[in-house]
């Protein structure tokens, strides 16, 4: 019969062993052990989900889904077996389920343009520019350092992926991420000061 090997070693081993014992206690009804376990495995779950999903809101939703799932099937954990393969299998399965749900949703949803009118009353139909004050935005952009401006232009305006933008600028993905993040913060600050 095939069994997953616990691939962890060193300090990770002691962590996995601690979680195995906490899960064992949780199966006996120890609420504090269970609470500690769920809090400690959160970063692992976020990492597993984050690899597939970019948006923080989606990641949190799927992590919560995984927590509910492992709570529902906690009797399926055999205390004699390693904890990590049990946890990772449930997490991956729920991530795959979420991906399937998301793709089937996108197949049945239709993207529609902006609806011109909402109600008959005039004050509900004031035309607005979705991007706010374009001039102020252009001024704020020109005030940014070259690296940050380029990162925002490529990723936010031209909608390039991190990889594509990194290839276009010849910088690393990490450096580009930092530039875009700092640029967005500076833009927000500049626009808030103007308004």
């Amino acid at each position: 019969m095939t069994r997953h090997r616990d691939n962890s070693n060193g300090p990770a081993d002691s962590g996995a062993e601690r979680w195995r014992l906490l899960m064992q206690a949780a199966q006996r009804g120890d609420k504090s052990a269970y609470s500690s376990l769920l809090r400690e495995i959160l970063p692992v779950l976020r990492a597993i989900v984050g690899r597939r999903w970019g948006s923080r809101q989606d990641v949190d939703d799927i992590v919560q889904d995984i927590l509910l799932s492992l709570h529902a099937v906690r009797n399926s954990y055999d205390p004699a077996r390693p904890f990590m393969p049990w946890l990772v299998t449930i997490a991956r399965r729920r991530v795959a389920d979420a991906a399937r749900r998301s793709s089937s949703r996108s197949m049945t949803e239709a993207l529609v343009g902006e609806v011109a009118e909402t109600f008959f009353a005039e004050d509900t139909n004031v035309p607005s520019n979705g991007y706010g004050d374009a001039e102020a935005l252009a001024r704020a952009m020109s005030g940014l350092p070259q690296g940050q401006r380029q990162a925002i232009e490529l990723m936010k305006l031209r909608e390039m992926s991190l990889k594509e933008a990194a290839a276009a600028t010849g910088t690393s993905v990490g450096a580009l991420k930092v530039s875009a993040h700092r640029g967005m913060l500076a833009l927000r600050k500049a626009l808030a000061a103007k308004s």
């Binding site: 019969m1 095939t2 069994r3 997953h4 949780a26 199966q27 006996r28 009804g29 120890d30 609420k31 504090s32 269970y34 609470s35 769920l38 809090r39 959160l42 949190d60 992590v63 919560q64 927590l67 509910l68 799932s69 709570h71 529902a72 099937v73 906690r74 009797n75 399926s76 954990y77 055999d78 205390p79 077996r81 390693p82 393969p85 049990w86 946890l87 299998t89 449930i90 399965r93 729920r94 389920d97």
Partner: protein
């Protein structure tokens, strides 16, 4: 809801649970219920069998052993499939005894063809067996589904296809005693055909019967 709040609620609602027994123990428990039931259903046929004739029929004995082994290994694989952390290889466990079963029936078909020509391979309608086959499968199916729903529905389609294979095999084990001496082509067409149809049906209904909706209590 905030994730911290969710963890607080899950911990507050925690009830003790008994870990599931290992898959092979659960498979034996299931077989321990299914076999006596199957024997009780075909009891009338069992008493009419000539024991000395059956004991001397090696092919019949090999076929029955392979059928029973298919039922057991399919049940073990089905129970493994609802335990997170088991590898996928275990899901192929029933293939070996199923192969022996098919080979034995295939050999019987060839022998019948050599002995009787085309007549030995003629498939005749055998709807009379349907009521018996239905009754024989009811209890093993219900018990197996109840037991599988206690696990994690990781691959519902695969789990239910394996469960259907286990039930169909144990039912065939009993049905064979009602058809001692039947032409192999009939066994191949009706018994193994039913196994294939049931397994496909099980796979199709997998999400409905074993999905997360049930495990999470939202269906």
């Amino acid at each position: 809801m905030d994730t911290d709040e969710l963890i607080r609620r899950l911990a507050a609602d925690l009830q003790p649970v008994r870990p599931l027994k290992p898959p092979w123990v659960r498979a034996l428990l299931w077989l321990g219920i299914a076999l006596p039931y199957v024997a009780a259903v075909v009891w009338g046929k069992l008493t009419m069998i000539d024991a000395s004739q059956v004991a001397g029929d090696v092919r019949f004995l090999v076929e029955q052993a392979a059928t029973l082994a298919t039922a057991l290994t399919a049940a073990i694989a089905a129970f493994c499939s609802v335990i997170p952390g088991f590898g996928r290889r275990v899901l192929f466990l029933p293939l070996a005894p199923l192969g022996v079963w098919l080979a034995s029936v295939g050999q019987g078909c060839v022998q019948d063809w050599l002995r009787l020509g085309a007549e030995g391979l003629r498939i005749r309608p055998d709807w009379d067996c349907l009521p018996l086959a239905t009754v024989i499968g009811i209890v093993p199916t219900i018990v197996l589904v109840i037991m599988l729903r206690k696990g994690a529905p990781l691959r519902p389609r695969v789990t239910l296809a394996l469960a259907a294979l286990a039930v169909a095999s144990v039912a065939n084990f009993g049905m064979q005693f009602a058809h001692v001496g039947d032409a192999s082509i009939m066994v191949l067409a009706w018994h193994l055909g039913a196994v294939a149809v049931l397994s496909m049906l099980g796979g199709w209904l997998g999400e409905l019967i074993l999905g997360w909706g049930h495990a999470l209590g939202v269906r």
